[in-house]
Symmetry: C2
Subunit: 281 residues, 2 copies
């Protein structure tokens, strides 16, 4: 048994899947689901993702030795303000947010001294959302970033890592700032670029849209409020990634303006090599 009592705040795709996997594999003694809609919580219970539930977050976390925040990252601060005083000594707080430095700071502000913060970020999202899409195999083979702050002790980090490993994930330890810069390059900037590409289409362009553009802009269909919060909680990382991208765009523009065939082909070859190598990881 990894934890006696796990409280999951936000029982959607990620929270529900974690509850399912942990309960089915007897990794936890009791899972309490916390949310603001009873109907969702009922559904989480009937599908086996939680043992009990409550809409009162402070009540729900009481007695838990693991609290997992699975809400939008913008809610971490207000939630912890409410729940912090009710956390039991030794409790580990973790999360599944896509950005880490700011959301973890928001958690830390309200964390009692005798509790532990270990950030987390499973790369296991999908277009599907909600408890109805939850499944116990969601994390199988997925990468989960385990993100200690500078203050986090080794014991809690390892306990969180072992839980993710037990549900099939490969864990990678990384600090919050490095995580956010890394994800800005691999996720946040690509999302921004996809959104701008589709936003810069003109009315009537549709007949010329082929499979290439559809693939390139698929992620632009993501949930706007969720992505707004990702950008706002990773401004430094996203801006740094945008700087790099714009530097390359300037070089490409200059090559294009001067008709420099060699430089253009060199960039395309580099991109193709890197893209092809991503498939052979």
């Amino acid at each position: 048994m990894h934890f006696e009592r796990m409280a999951i705040i936000g029982v959607g795709l990620l929270g529900g899947s974690l509850g399912l996997a942990a309960r089915r594999q007897h990794l936890v003694g009791h899972v309490v689901g916390i949310g603001h809609r009873s109907s969702t919580l009922e559904q989480a219970k009937s599908c086996g993702a939680v043992d009990s539930f409550t809409t009162d977050a402070a009540e729900g976390v009481a007695g838990a030795d693991l609290v997992v925040l699975c809400t939008p990252v913008g809610l971490f601060g207000p939630l912890m303000e409410k729940c912090g005083p009710r956390l039991k000594a030794g409790c580990i707080v973790t999360d599944v947010g896509s950005t880490k430095a700011e959301p973890m700071a928001a958690i830390a502000r309200h964390l009692p001294g005798e509790c532990h913060l270990v950030g987390g970020h499973p790369l296991a999202g999908s277009d599907a959302r909600g408890i109805e899409s939850a499944n116990e195999r969601l994390f199988s083979g997925a990468t989960v970033f385990v993100v200690p702050s500078a203050e986090t002790m080794a014991g809690p980090i390892e306990r969180v890592e072992r839980l993710w490993q037990a549900v099939g994930a490969r864990t990678r330890r990384i600090d919050p700032q490095s995580h956010d810069q890394l994800l800005a390059r691999t996720s946040h900037l690509p999302h921004m670029v996809a959104a701008l590409l589709v936003a810069s289409l003109e009315p009537g362009d549709e007949p010329a849209v082929g499979k290439g553009l559809l693939d390139t802009t698929r992620i632009a269909s993501g949930d706007p409020p969720m992505w707004r919060d990702i950008f706002l909680t990773n401004r430094a990382g996203t801006l740094a990634a945008l700087d790099s991208f714009e530097r390359l765009a300037r070089q490409f523009r200059e090559a294009l303006e001067s008709g420099d065939a060699e430089s253009i082909e060199a960039v395309l070859r580099l991109a193709k090599r890197r893209r092809d190598s991503l498939l052979n990881r």
Copy 2:
């Protein structure tokens, strides 16, 4: 019968598929395949894409009433320089190139006065390439841009349109400059952006690469020399599309720098709405 004798220069995915479809449906009397590798031409013959073949382009086009250029656009000029003098009066020259204004000008420079130029661009490429991927259904349901120059007469335009329609395509008539600006937005800029996104990754970023980035950058695996030529033959269009994109990027950057949640969400909502609508065309 649409044409007595069709010469296809470059018998790969597009040229081979056109030959297959036209022969199977008896749209043409005789198809001659032209290329520089006998083995490819042999294969085109044995799969039914051509009736005969030659590696001598000038010889191949002699007597044809339709010549279809299916080589990289960079070869149109040199090829037409060689073949122009051998074209018979009334011959229609068309092509399947991804860019139109410059490649069509290269054709026109060597076109005898009594011949007709009607550019073409089927949106029917794929990751697959070569005669081994050719199939007679490739153009079924596909959009084909039919691109007359200012001088092209109505008769030849309609004959080319009817041929494409006969192999299942929906044709759209557009002038070369509008075509190139349109495709810059829907294809060339997205390709450039995908290439730059993957080029701006750093060594060691791979574990953080998820399905989103893979989709967004899939087209960056395209053939570098082919795309180099697309960019070089559509510099004006690509630069104009890049201008629009960079204008939006500047606005997004400013919103991000000032923490303007509303503007960020507005862009994301616009992008999502447009992207979702592309699926319901």
